[in-house]
Amino acid sequence: MSRIGVFVCHCGENISATVDCGKVAKISSELNGVAFSTEYKYMCSDPGQTLIKEAIKEHNLDGIVVAACSPRMHEPTFRKACAEAGLNPYMCEMSNIREHCSWVHPKDDLTTEKAEDLVRVMVEKVRKNKALNPIKVPVTKTALVIGGGVAGIQAALDIANCGHKVIMVERQPSIGGHMSQLSETFPTLDCSQCILTPRMVEIAQHPNITLYTYAEVESLDGFIGNFKVKIRKKSKSLDENLCTGCGLCTTKCPQKKIPNEFERGLGFRPAIYVPFPQAVPNKPVIDKENCTYYIKGKCKICEIVCPTKAIRFDQPDEIVEVEAGAIVLCTGFDVLKPDFFPEYGYGKYKDVIDGLQFERLASASGPTNGEIRRPSDGAIPKKIVFVACAGSRDPAKGIEYCSKICCMYTAKHAMLYKHKVHDGVPYVFYMDIRAGGKMYEEFVRRAIVEEETQYIRGRVSTIYEKNGKLIVKGADTLMGGKAVEIEADMVVLATAGVASSGSEELAQKVHVSYDSYKFFAEAHPKLKPVETNTAGIFLAGACQAPKDIPESVAAASGAAVKVAALFSNDELTRDPLIAVVNRQAPPVFSSCVGCFLCQSVCPYQAIEREEIKNRNGDVIKTLARVNPSLCQGCGTCVALCRTKAIDIHGYSNQQVYAEIMTLLND
């Protein structure tokens, strides 16, 4: 026999202006199963909650219906109040007579009648409610950070400094990412490596951080608080414990002309190499595709000269299995290369380079020791053209979005160029100048006014080479679209930022959504920028969308806090409003027939296979089982189950049916 309490809220004037709350309360009091009914001005307030708690005790209520605003507003409030009064919180439901009634209808008898109906429906549902208990999931307090760029580094340090263990996985031989390739950063013109390398060293030395470089995530299983990750440590052909990082092998390697990826092809490296002098860890790896030994079986000079005998040619890849409670994706981004642009030469002109290549030219430790020189003949360019929006904001090329950082780094490049080539003339072809950060607009103004960079508003139609010069054909739209032709010595394309290679595969491995550009999807673009829709997986940095260093660092710290919040309990509590596959006594075991249609449609991979065995250990039935840690209660499986063996706690077929029939049996 139900003893339900109905509490009708005025919500100030929000509800009472169009609904006669008193009448609703009175009509509700006459309903079957309702033991107590009242109205109040602000149910969510302290006195309002006290009213509910006292009513529960006084009238021995076993169910509550609060007729007020949307449950998305205050369901937790009222459920908490019930719990404090000793009533199972899942016996409390809200009937939305504000967003669904008072706010959308005028003051009228019909409006009040609708409110009465809405309360009646919820009363019928609550009569079928069952007490539920929150689900507890243990938490492994280790975070896995995938990606060792500035975002990954920041996230790892923040989490480690909270006292938790961190495992960092980076696929390059060194951490640092693109930030380590930059020469100076805007708007301060700080030397990029100078500010980054201390952090990189901190990662290597931090007692809570385990660093795997030249490694990738092989597979991921499990769920929030309980991820099981397999990491493939690609073979470096090196015993890292013996290697001292002396670097002798790299100087003796006979294969010296391999295009250097760190220098974006502008310089060379040997087959056994350290990507850059400040690499962390500062130990070499052997590039198997270009090493004489691996190709032809000869050489082995590095092994011979190594003073600690650290080279191991037969070292296999190693799979390391780790457990983690949370994952932070910090895989960063990449930029398009000049070969993407047909009208700029399909990449065949050596002196048409992209922004990252220019960074390497400008870097003191770069292939030209910081001098701006043409890749073709080493001459110093006297006229340099920067093309902004190369590929970005270009639906015809398939990239509609703005890459955000290019306006700023183009201004920076123009400035760096002028600082190094005092008599040079930089031109920038632009469409708009996007300088929205702190001190950004002032920075761009400096480039234009103080450094006298010639900014021309218009895009470049084509670039071709003639007599060692690059003919750039653009337009000046502020002069009505007048054609502007510049004979440049060098052209730098501010190419679009795109998702880094392998993003799609990684997203599918860890079950995270991504968009059509392969950037990872945040849970909510405004309010949840560092979370994904997959519980326990967070993201930070440019893997979500192109962004600059301050934003990446901020996002990384944000993600770190989310991880710390997750780790602040030994157990995770989850709402028990999840699906359950019924279980019955043998020999039936369940009305589930094992078709696993539910498993194929579950967006959260929450359905597992449970084998029912007999005493001999033979499998007699395979049934579906919902993992209570992963299920989000979406109900897709319930809709598809052929035998209705699966149902949702709190929204069972019976409860929903009762609501509908209440309305129909008016």
């Binding site: 015809a396 139609s461 007048k482």
Partner: protein, 185 residues
């Protein structure tokens, strides 16, 4: 209100949505005749975007639309894939039908009309006829006077027109497509 009508007319007739243009200038940058135009392709798009009656009038009276050689370079490079050549065709036709052509475009238009007259009559271009018609329209008697004999002796100038059997069909086609356009002659 006639103001918005030129760009909406352009949209109805050609599918080109002027508002999509974000004035990047790539069309003007690649246009082979941009330096001779009174309004560059970027300006033409902007004039349409303003929805202004006066600008629309200027556009129909411009030289730009007649200088355009329909080389299709602009649309090939346009990030928004705006079909400027198709739009130019439409503006040319509208300019003619409303008698708003720029006076300096006289020769260009005369050439086109002479060409069409020729094929209306014979079905295939009769070059001599075209030249004569053109000279009569423009009064430019000296044009190519020195080249013609050389062409003739190299067998490239036919003295007699080729008349197709379907000449009547050609006239019919011309008449059927002409009837809505005033001011074509």
């Amino acid at each position: 209100m006639k103001t918005a009508s030129l760009s909406s007319e352009v949209h109805d007739e050609t599918g080109v949505l002027a508002i999509k243009c974000y004035q990047c200038g790539k069309c003007s940058a690649g246009c082979p005749v941009v330096d001779e135009m009174d309004y560059t392709p970027s300006m033409v798009m902007r004039m349409l975007q303003t929805g202004d009656d006066t600008e629309a009038g200027k556009l129909l009276r411009s030289m730009s639309i007649w200088l355009c050689v329909t080389c299709e370079m602009c649309v090939t490079r346009c990030p928004m894939e705006i079909d400027i050549p198709k739009m130019m065709d439409f503006l040319r036709q509208k300019s003619l039908s409303e008698n708003k052509t720029h006076h300096k475009a006289r020769k260009i238009i005369a050439f086109h009309k002479s060409f069409l007259d020729s094929i209306n009559f014979t079905g295939r271009l009769y070059e001599m006829g075209l030249i004569v018609d053109y000279k009569m329209r423009t009064g430019d008697m000296m044009q190519d006077v020195t080249i013609a004999p050389k062409m003739f002796f190299k067998g490239k100038l036919n003295p007699i027109p080729e008349l197709i059997r379907g000449r009547k069909k050609m006239s019919e086609i011309f008449n059927k497509t002409k009837k809505k356009k005033e001011g074509l002659k």
